[in-house]
Symmetry: C2
């Protein structure tokens, strides 16, 4: 089965409305257990940028759990770094096949003192569950797992064929996923993919994400003296790599907030007035974005709303600076080298190789000759835009209406999910991005949370999605789910 | 004894040339033991910027050692942070009294992988002893201790009265030393101070340091969003505190390498042509300084040699940048805040409060309104210039001729020893700076070393210094030790 097929909406439905009702009842009756299990899942400090052991243990737990709920061919598949967990329930040859993707790895927790409660000791406070990975992505991945469980435990089968790949390297740029997909195209052949790793604007405003930015992770290093040197003995006589690095970073943007690298915007597509009007009508306001960021004022490219600046437009962020052989604050030393991590977010039709090239040329041009610079491309992921008229996306829209009681909006995200463009390029399938996180969930920051009503409605929505795919893409209310 | 007296060069010498010879013989016979003991001393990771325990244990070891060699009134005196070790042998009321100062704390070792051998496992390779603190300042402090021991073990007494204070907070700016000096002026009353915590240009070019720069340690923090935020979701729409911090740092110097803060140079004294000629004749060349720094080209204020830029002229160095709640390289986050450590080196007649004030005003003026800055003065130490005609400095010159066989040069140092100006202001005494380190010793960097021939000659030189002070300031060769 090398060639993937179109979605089989006309195929025989093995589970009808009664099966969906049974699955929903099961999900509603088992909410307390679902939270307990999710807390077990969050307790693993599966930081992909950190040590191998904790990530691997988390993968094993997830595999056992998938086996326990009745999934088949469950396996923990090693990669060069962190393993991929595979599972399937795909023994209805006439049915559509959905490829579920999620990631069980998490961002580093950061300084634990910024957390109200420890990041890997999940607790429920109010309506939310707090812990690293609560929403990004363990909680959302769990909506898939619990929707599957609800069908399997109530009817013994799923409405459609399901294959799951749960990755352990998303937060470090999915370095080994592409090769895995290429090596396993037959195993993974599906009609569409489903990912829950995005957000909705507010709890009563469900959303399907139809655009993601790409990401280009760059390490920039400036080297000066052969070793760290005493800042008293040599201060004023030898060029300091940290000063040079700051000078380079200071000229990456102009005063208006535009990226100053010549050519950076050359291949950026301009969106239609119609699309921007839809964004203005349906998307977050500047005020909402600032509130979510905890910032007082906006910044960036003139002529665009904050929503547009962070989705339609590319961006460049320095995310960390380190220096020397010693980063201790007590050291009075001019460091031998200074290092910056840059995170460039790409939009169509920017190409990561081209942007990497002009970045390199620009840095070279502005670097004084008394130091050396080195540039390393750490990660590269393409931007991805999903067609809103895709039947799987339409089915997702219907599922939201049933799960949340509201028609979803189509949202653009500034974030990156590398696998979306990989699925398109390597497996030839589109992805429905059905996110249940909220903008104030604190993804990548301290006190990350999952809003539990969204977790429960998310499970219902995935149940409806699978049911809808199997029954037909007919709209019960006679309207089409477009915008 | 509140008022300190002048040096009693005419007082009765209790130890004559024979006593000096005996002390030298003892020192020469016990070199192997001296190295073993110094290695024990270096094994304590007495990082004052680090944890309390290791520093305190090192103080206790040093106190036991001083007691063991025959010093009196040995005590470990607590401060708010790290203790001061006091000892004396001061029971000859008619004799001059010398206050020995050294510090047993060390800089952080930095990344251990930059060291050829672990920083706190000292080893002898070739002619040098490697380990953190080998030259800064444990090895040099030990020249005092071993010179004292050599007299006490060979003659049972010292040529002059000696008081020792060995500090545990020099590398963090001596925050509690001033109060200790003020509280103990009677106990510490002396005729002059002796410090070995400076360098000589080459092993055959002994030097007395006659000028030190002051130091002003500043923490600069830029705060933006209320918490770390996802650099994909918000990148391009919210101002990044790291970008702002880099922009501020980039405009602290102009393109020529001069500090760009208005008024920074206003009170800097200009040195005479004569003094600068002496420096050109006796001090390190640009090439030597670059070799010691491991740098290819010089940098800084036009119109001054590298030696002058790093001694006569003030400097401003950023020594570290940190950011956000998470400094892990894997985190794709715009940090809530970014922090820089600055090390400003002051020269006469710059005042730290005035420089702090204009720094504050300048940063305020160049900071965009969408972020907040906070500035904290971490440490402040005055510059210090010692008169080369002071009789104690002249005695030091003679001791070098006897210990190294060469007339010493007078050197200016870009470094800071906060206690020198404190001794002048609080105890009313001048300090002879008799340093035995070498410029390539790697102070504050990895692979710090002590050149052992200098260690041995340093001990001999201190023995001669104490003997010379006691005998008379007569020059055996009829020449005066000036330049």
């Amino acid at each position: 089965m090398d060639k993937v097929t179109g979605i089989q909406f006309e195929s025989l439905a093995t589970i009808g409305p009664t099966g969906i009702s049974r699955a929903l009842s099961y999900a509603h009756e088992n909410r307390a257990a679902f939270i307990r299990e999710l807390m077990d899942f969050i307790r693993f400090p599966s930081v992909s940028a950190g040590n191998y052991g904790a990530v691997s243990k988390c993968a094993e737990w997830l595999a056992r759990h998938l086996n326990h709920i009745g999934m088949e061919r469950v396996s923990v598949i090693p990669t060069k770094r962190h393993p991929i967990v595979y599972a399937e329930k795909a023994n209805s040859p006439g049915q559509a096949t959905v490829l579920f993707y999620g990631h069980y790895d998490v961002q580093p927790a950061g300084r634990h003192d910024a957390w109200q409660t420890p990041p890997f000791e999940p607790v429920v406070r109010g309506d939310s569950l707090y812990g690293r990975g609560a929403s990004d992505d363990k909680g959302q991945l769990f909506t898939h797992v619990k929707a599957i469980e609800s069908f399997l435990r109530s009817s013994g089968k799923l409405p459609v064929n399901v294959k799951c790949i749960f990755e352990g390297e998303e937060e470090i740029g999915s370095p080994n996923l592409g090769q895995f997909l290429l090596n396993n195209r037959a195993l993974l052949a599906s009609d569409m993919a489903l990912i829950s790793d995005t957000s909705m604007p507010t709890p009563d405003k469900p959303a399907i994400t139809c655009s993601l930015r790409g990401a280009l992770g760059i390490d920039l290093e400036v080297s000066g003296p052969a070793h760290d040197i005493h800042s008293g003995i040599f201060g004023g006589a030898v060029r300091n790599p940290l000063h040079v690095l700051c000078g380079i970073i200071a000229c990456l943007h102009d005063k208006t907030g535009r990226v100053a690298i010549p050519g950076f915007y050359d291949s950026v597509i301009e969106w239609s007035r119609q699309a921007r009007d839809y964004m203005a009508k349906t998307g977050p306001s500047d005020e909402t974005i600032l509130k979510n960021a905890g910032a007082r004022t906006g910044w960036g490219e003139e002529g665009y709303t904050l929503y547009e600046r962070s989705t339609l437009r590319p961006s460049l962020s320095v995310t960390a600076i380190t220096s020397g052989t010693d980063t201790a604050r007590g050291a009075n030393a001019i460091p031998a080298s200074a290092h910056a991590n840059l995170d460039i977010r790409l939009v169509p039709n920017q190409r990561s190789d081209e942007i990497g090239r002009i970045f390199h040329n620009y840095v070279h041009a502005v670097t004084p000759r008394s130091v050396r610079t080195a540039i390393r491309i750490r990660t590269a992921a393409k931007p991805a835009v999903t067609s809103v008229s895709h039947p799987g996306v339409q089915a997702a829209g219907k599922a939201y209406r049933l799960g949340f009681g509201k028609r979803p909006v189509f949202l653009l995200s500034g974030g990156t999910i590398p696998v979306v463009s990989m699925f398109k390029d390597m497996l030839g399938i589109e992805t429905a991005l059905m996110g249940f996180a909220l903008p104030d969930d604190g993804k990548h920051g301290p006190n990350e949370k999952l809003y539990l009503p969204n977790f429960f409605k998310g499970i219902d929505t995935i149940i409806h999605f699978l049911g809808t795919l199997a029954i037909h893409n007919r709209n019960d209310d006679g309207r089409r789910d477009d915008h």
